[in-house]
Subunit: 200 residues, 2 copies
């Protein structure tokens, strides 16, 4: 599936990637983003380990990519195989459509719940202690502002939602970047649009 590849080892902190190649996230987190003329910014997708991106794939047009943590990526020398492109594009499109629903028709709380579940699935640590059933802990690589630009909200609203979830025992966190999911069922109900609770 992969052509000749080189480990690029970019332990960049919030550096920018603009080279025209295809890349795969090995560890860490990459966010695609676009800036409007004025201050507005939008992050259409957040990529965890295993996800592919690069020119001619995803950041079509004028999207840029930025690493949000100590991140390493592999580069592919030639253009990737057509079959690979197809699979990745399909996944991107699927995610884009799901995200469109989120942006167009979900409340703030529903958006944050959806985001938490997505990030948990991409960044979950395997260390689920014997006691923890369904409890997942993961590193939220995004700041509140990044989350806001991903979810079409403001950073204050994101913070309020996370606070409300914490008070409601859906999640837990001491450090604002290390999140534990305590009640996945409730989060999923929220994300799906059931459960009208937890206004920001």
């Amino acid at each position: 599936m992969a052509q000749h590849r080189t480990r690029a080892a970019l332990p960049l902190e919030r550096k920018f990637i603009s080279r025209p190649t295809t890349l795969r996230v090995v560890e860490g987190c990459v966010a695609l983003y676009r800036e409007l003329g004025d201050g507005r910014r939008l992050i259409p997708d957040v990529l965890g380990p295993g996800r592919l991106f690069g020119s001619g794939l995803v950041d079509v047009q004028d999207c840029r990519a930025m690493t949000l943590a100590a991140t390493s990526v592999e580069t592919f020398d030639g253009p990737p195989q057509a079959a690979v492109i197809d699979v990745v594009m399909r996944q991107m499109l699927l995610r884009a459509q799901a995200h469109a629903i989120l942006l167009g028709r979900k409340t703030a709380a529903e958006r944050v719940a959806t985001a938490l579940l997505d990030l948990a699935s991409q960044f979950a640590r395997k260390s689920r202690s014997p006691s923890g059933k369904g409890k997942t802990t993961f590193n939220l690589h995004l700041t509140r502002a990044d989350l806001a630009d991903w979810l079409g909200l403001t950073l204050e609203t994101v913070s309020r939602c996370l606070g409300a979830f914490k008070r409601g025992r859906l999640i837990a966190f001491d450090h604002p970047e290390i999140i534990t999911i305590r009640d996945r069922t409730a989060l999923e109900a929220l994300a799906a649009g059931n459960a009208r609770a937890f206004a920001a």
Copy 2:
């Protein structure tokens, strides 16, 4: 580019398409849509003549398609060529990302302005009279409710925006479905996010 094709001639009015084939819009208008559990609905894309869609292409997952006017489509017998899929997917992804920005970061007026320009480019009538410079007239195949579901708004807000544009001489319409663009420049400025005017 096209394989053996048959004119399917579906002069359906808001009928539903669910067959697993690849289709091309010949004339009329097709909207892809998804329904959430409760009443909420979202239209991720609206397709005019020339656009391709169908299974394994666009309405990936559980998107459905619906015709919004007397519409005819061609069907392709086999699966389309890989190159065709690639081009179409790329276009869809591009549009999806642009739409994500609209949904995530634009005001109601900006969204409606963007939609009008998009629809004008897809459905413009060639009959630009000698006097009309830049004036385009087109048939808005979508109802206000459809527009709302496309733009992540309510039908009332859409109606108010259109009314505001009409009063501001940006557009004109007597029949609510036949729209004429009178000031394309202003609309484009609005759509781009400049010009803070015309709150709903």
